[in-house]
Amino acid sequence: MLLKNETGQTASKQWEPKIIAFFCNWCTYTAADLAGVSRIKHAPNIRVIRVMCSGRVDPQFILDSFAKGADGVLIGGCHPGDCHYQEGNYKCLRRFQMLKRVVDSLGIEKDRLRLEWISASEGDKVRIVVNDMVAKIKVLGPLGLPLKFKNWADEMHVIVSEVAGKEEVYA
């Protein structure tokens, strides 16, 4: 029997968090490849989107990812001073600091958004970061924003129709 749970996923298997990762081409994406070549096993919950530089990560990408159902977002860039494009990672850090506050004010827990500097040689750090992030998000449970949006929209519909009904009565 398939049951819909509150995230809209089927309950036949245990809920697994889904994390979107934006990795820069030169350091962190390469580190993730190195983890592969070195067969460093880690949690299968991240889905990597490759960008040339962490500076390309538009805060909107992150908000969109949450809004569309991601349980966490990880950004990976080169260590400070090591950016392939000189300072894109600093730009990323700046936006990240601002975005953290926005995300916090939206009621999204801070562990769901993470920025890490992972150099091309740090295959093992990919494992550490991913496993840690997955463990923390598992404790938090699903974020499930699409379903929440749907519920809120349904509530709005009900209110709108209720108000409309009353208006007819009073008319």
């Binding site: 889904k18 299968p44 990597v48 500076g55 990560v57 990408f61 494009y85 000189q86 040689s121 699409p146």
Partner: protein, 669 residues
């Protein structure tokens, strides 16, 4: 699929990679799933997609099914993106109508649960299929390659690379930090396994470098900055003051004779401090160039401002110039070969071996100098007190294969220890004990060399040395006791010896991290520079146009160093002779109609590629300067900057794909 023109027809392929992918990911399931996705016309799996039949399958499908997009789920794009782009373009499609899904390095190889792995593959396949619909036909831009080459480091690697390039008619700038080229190899006496004399094979190459019309050799110089990119690097080189006018000095050494210090009394770097030199000195007799150098750290004139300046007086050619200052040279090169070498492990860090405490504990490099006929003792192997050792212990793996120091095997120590064993025996007839963990002698003629040494009567004891301490039964406390467990007989043994040789490992240079930053290349966790691919691109770096040679990439012996230097030179030649390089077209551009002229992007660009057109009140990007990071794109409040290959739609479509998010599910109120 709004935003795309015409009917999208996607061919999807997943590679088994033998069992590398198919062993974990259920490829059939992925193929069946992909076939249900919008715009997918063909969905197939194949044993090896990168093979000729795999590529031909794609090309045939493109023609037969009129495909206009291709998605391949296989290894990392770093490995085979180029292969599949070529296959795509050979079938008549624009090569950028291709998207790759990393299903091996970042999936099958790192996950254990086949179900989770297959789920992840399906998410990313959906994402790529979503994305590829938005791809645009792009053209790679080409930039010309400047034909000159910079070689950093004048050891055997830099020397060989320079000569190879110069002989091919290319102009080479060879920059060496020390006053002479030659590197570590110049310090060695003999080389394993052939036991030919290092100087005899190296010095002719050194003078060939000096005399080659195509090589500009700058010794006692350092690269201080590197800007630009492949084909067009701007390099600044600092030429440290030698206090000698290059063109005037003939290497007569009269100034050394005339120095106010009558006896040499300062640490001689070339002899590892086993001999002394004066403040004005020639590093070694065969130094190239044959120019003396004045060391301001020890010269009394520079230290106190008071000296009779007898060196200046003694020079008939007026070559001594104590007022010389550093000069800076600016050059433009198309490619760079990094051959900065290694340094020996500091044996003091393994304190229980007593290096620096007991005078009769030596490092291997010191012993190389002791054995060398042109060394501090003219090849006479004597201890610091002048006596001849009757028994010698050689301790392997000092600073190698040790979790307290360095994990890596330095590769050359076993063999140079065997060489030293042979040479020490030849010079002293002493009893030689090799304390080893494993004897590692791979390579041509290397194991035969080991067998020969064993037959010569060199003793081998399998066991890591635990302690070295003075022999209390020796009244003069000169003799040392080497304590180790002989793991073959399972007994603790204590061997009294007159001399201990520590076979120190090879470690990265102290300033390797600074060099890495300057060149924008990467280091491994150990600190050696990383090659682009360990097997397929062993001398390339992740930065196009910069190549590696020698021990700066990892410990290796002279034959391998020379082979790698040749390979690096060949890679540079390939670029130079092609004359141009193709760059990824991932540059940013401004959609003028949407630009509000807010200027927020202008200061963000590290390459000053963005300017503001006062007349139009719009920003504009100089494509030639843009390196394609996308930082400005992310910052534009009106979304009027776009980055080729990484347009917003492309990335949002990836997000949608991963999360299986569909517009109709969403509620817009």
């Amino acid at each position: 699929m709004s935003g795309t023109n015409g009917k999208i027809k996607i061919g999807f392929y997943i590679c088994h990679c033998g069992t590398n992918i198919a062993g974990t990911v259920d490829v059939q399931k992925v193929v069946d799933y992909a076939a249900t996705l919008p715009n997918v016309v063909v969905s197939k799996h194949y044993k090896y997609m990168c093979s000729d039949p795999g590529q031909e399958m794609i090309q045939k499908d493109i023609k037969d099914n009129d495909l206009n997009r291709v998605v391949v789920a296989a290894c990392s794009p770093f490995l085979h993106e180029r292969t599949f782009r070529n296959a795509t373009s050979q079938a008549g499609l624009n090569q950028f109508y291709f998207q790759m899904v990393n299903t091996r390095e970042q999936n099958a190889w790192v996950h254990l649960d086949p179900e989770a792995s297959t789920d992840k593959a399906m998410d990313l396949v959906r994402s790529a299929i979503n994305r590829v619909a938005f791809h645009k036909p792009l053209e790679k831009k080409t930039v010309p390659i400047k034909p000159d080459v910079l070689v950093v480091g004048g050891g055997i690697a830099g020397i060989h690379a320079s000569l190879t390039l110069a002989n091919a008619g290319k102009k080479v700038f060879l920059v060496e930090r020390d006053p002479t080229i030659g590197g570590h190899m110049a310090m060695f006496d003999k080389t394993f396994p052939t036991l030919d004399c290092a100087a005899c094979i190296l010095t002719p190459k050194m003078s060939a470098v000096k005399n080659h019309p195509n090589i500009t050799m700058w010794t006692y110089s350092e690269v201080v900055s590197v800007d630009g990119y492949v084909g067009n690097f701007q390099v600044k080189v600092k030429r440290k003051p030698r206090y000698i006018i290059d063109d005037m000095c003939v290497g007569c050494l009269d100034c050394i004779e005339a120095c106010v210090y009558k006896e040499p009394r300062f640490y001689n770097e070339f002899d590892q401090g086993l001999s002394k030199r004066k403040p004005v000195y020639m590093p070694f007799p065969q130094a190239t160039p044959q120019l003396v150098v004045i060391d301001p750290e020890t010269c009394i004139w520079f230290k106190t401002g008071k000296c009779k300046q007898t060196c200046v007086e003694s020079c008939e050619r007026k070559a001594v110039d104590l007022n010389q200052e550093a000069t800076f040279k600016e050059i433009e090169v198309g490619t760079i070969i990094v051959a900065t070498g290694f340094q020996s492990f500091d044996a003091r860090k393994v304190y229980y071996y007593g290096y620096g405490t007991y005078p009769n504990v030596y490092t291997a490099l010191e012993v190389e100098r002791l054995i060398n006929a042109s060394g501090p003792t003219s090849g006479e192997v004597v201890l610091r007190d002048g006596s001849r050792p009757k028994s010698i212990a050689i301790v392997h793996c000092v600073g190698s294969r040790d979790k307290n120091t360095n994990l890596w095997c330095s590769r050359v120590c076993c063999l140079y220890s065997l060489k030293l064993a042979h040479l020490l025996k030849e010079h002293t007839h002493a009893d030689i004990y090799n304390f080893y963990i494993d004897i590692r002698t791979p390579g041509k003629m290397m194991d035969e060399f080991y067998t020969r040494m064993a037959e010569e009567g060199v003793k081998f004891i399998r066991g890591r040395v635990a302690d070295i301490y003075p022999d209390s039964t020796d009244e003069e406390h000169r003799r040392l006791v080497v304590k180790a467990e002989d793991t073959l007989i399972r007994e603790i043994i204590k061997v009294p010896v007159d001399m201990v040789v520590l076979s120190t490992g090879l470690v990265p240079r102290d300033d390797a991290q600074d060099v890495r930053r300057m060149l924008n290349i990467s280091c491994s966790t150990e600190g050696f520079f990383i090659e682009r691919h360990p097997k397929l691109a062993p001398v390339n770096t992740f930065t196009d146009g910069i190549f590696l040679a020698g021990c700066c990439q990892g410990p290796k012996d002279i034959p391998d160093t020379v082979a790698q230097a040749g390979a690096a030179a060949a890679e540079a030649l390939a670029l130079i002779d092609l004359g141009y390089i193709e760059l990824e077209p991932n540059t940013a551009f401004i959609v003028e109609e949407e630009c509000s002229g807010c200027k927020s992007c202008v200061p963000l660009c590290p390459y000053t590629a963005i300017s503001y057109d006062e007349e139009k009140k719009k920003a504009s990007i100089n494509e030639a300067l843009c390196k394609g990071c996308g930082t400005c794109v992310a910052s534009c409040p009106s979304g009027s900057i776009k980055q080729n290959m990484f347009e917003d739609e492309e990335i949002y479509s990836e997000i949608d794909g991963i999360l299986n998010y569909q517009m109709e599910e969403a509620l817009c109120c």
